[in-house]
Symmetry: C2
Subunit: 239 residues, 2 copies
DNA sequence: CCAGTGACCGGACCAATGATCCGGTGCTCG
DNA sequence: CGAGCACCGGATCATTGGTCCGGTCACTGG
């Protein structure tokens, strides 16, 4: 998708339609979930024929790629906040996660290459911030790798077990666990589905571990060190 | 899937068929990927009619759930290795990741509830090991949460960018990044697709950060502390 | 030995879906 | 004013997940 030329437009008249399609696709996905997204349904919502969509978009996968990238525009880039790299990264990762949770259907799409401009811009910020903080070499790769994989995994898992709507599947799973508590004692007693502790705290905690590891690598290597005002936890989504 | 009774069998004669279906499904998925898995194709490979499958399995999703859980049987559980909790967890997580990479199609299925016995057994081991190491309360949740989310994210991302087969998409992405290096300078210079550094090192490094954070929480709370013989890096998959 | 019972199989079929063909329609530029 | 082009959409196709319903076949009780 992102590797093809942008579907050259005749001469002027801004696309508009393509954007409307994506916008409506996101709305539809938000409202009904990933499996209910049909080209026909989408076209119907747009008040047009289904085949018309194919003039603006090559395949359905394109719509999905576009929709997936579109939601990441919501992630704020804390550019030059002056609050230190830890705070900046925490805010970015927190916003990233918030978007994933706000659009649970995105979890199912995370396995496709994310090369949209919005995703790329945020990755760029992540790399630039780490670079500026003095993270280099294999630790840079590890930091970016660890951070992004962690958010993605978090979003994926949490979207899989929605706290609000999915009371049925969640409750059933909990019961299933209780029924087999002989086989899974630790899980039944302290498992994530059972204790119901808010995942935001867990998310923030493990994130600080990651950041601590990154920071230790910096100071150890003789960099300017931990200029992080506070531990940067203030950017994490609390909802 | 996992919440329903196990499709009561008439009297005896072990299922066998259901297992053969799953086995063949995994083989098909390994060979051709997730989108090529069709009930008809699967039936054909099994030398049977497609409708016959529905006697053993309720829906296609069941096949996917079953297949997804089946591959996790490959993850070794380092039960009672005597090498300390860090080594055990590192081995478990490393094996988990290896399976994800060995079956790249699994990435696309990670968004569905994983309640199969194999997955549950390994989660149980993770929780039990952490518990035994003295991790409790919110740090337990955070540790298990962070660890599993991290592996899942890693597997997801790496399966998305296969190093071996996907030279086309990977190369194209790299080129695309180079073309826009003005917009994404840090990414183009140090991005994961560009530097080509082995991801295993990055994976292991960020994992030790996580483990360090967990361990610090233990000693800090007055537990028996770091009994980890070595840092446990020896269990990570190198391939 | 035999009828019957129930596990198991599969051809025909259905609805939904992604995608294409090809004939319109209306706006704009010369 | 007419030609060209961006844009639209009904009809249509192939494929897919899933069901109906009639078979087959081993085994069991008499």
């Amino acid at each position: 998708m992102w590797l093809r030329p942008p579907a050259r437009r005749g001469r002027d008249a801004p696309p508009l339609s393509r954007e409307r399609i994506v916008e409506e696709a996101v709305a539809l996905l938000d409202a009904e979930g990933a499996d209910r997204l049909t080209m026909r349904r989408l076209a119907e919502r747009l008040g047009t024929g289904s085949t018309t969509l194919y003039w603006h978009v090559r395949t359905k996968d394109d719509v999905l790629d576009l929709a997936l990238d579109a939601i990441f525009a919501e992630v704020g880039i804390p550019s030059g906040s002056g609050r230190g790299w830890r705070a900046d990264i925490t805010a970015l990762i927190g916003g990233w996660r918030a978007v994933l949770l706000r659009h649970p259907w995105s979890a199912a799409l995370l396995s496709r290459p994310m090369l949209g401009p919005n995703v790329l811009a945020r990755s760029e910020f992540l790399y630039a911030t780490l670079l500026e903080a003095g993270v280099t070499g294999p630790r840079l790769t590890a930091a970016a790798y660890g951070l992004s994989n962690y958010v993605i995994g978090s979003g994926l898992m949490q979207a899989t077990w929605p706290a609000d709507t999915g009371q049925d599947v969640r409750g059933a799973a909990r019961e299933h666990l209780r029924d087999n508590r002989k086989r899974y004692p630790a899980l039944a007693a302290h498992g994530p589905l059972v204790v119901e502790g808010d995942w935001d705290t867990g998310f923030a905690l493990a994130l600080t571990w990651l950041l601590d590891g990154i920071q230790a690598g910096i100071t150890e290597a003789g960099g300017a060190g931990g200029s992080g005002s506070g531990d940067g936890t203030e950017g994490v989504t609390r909802a």
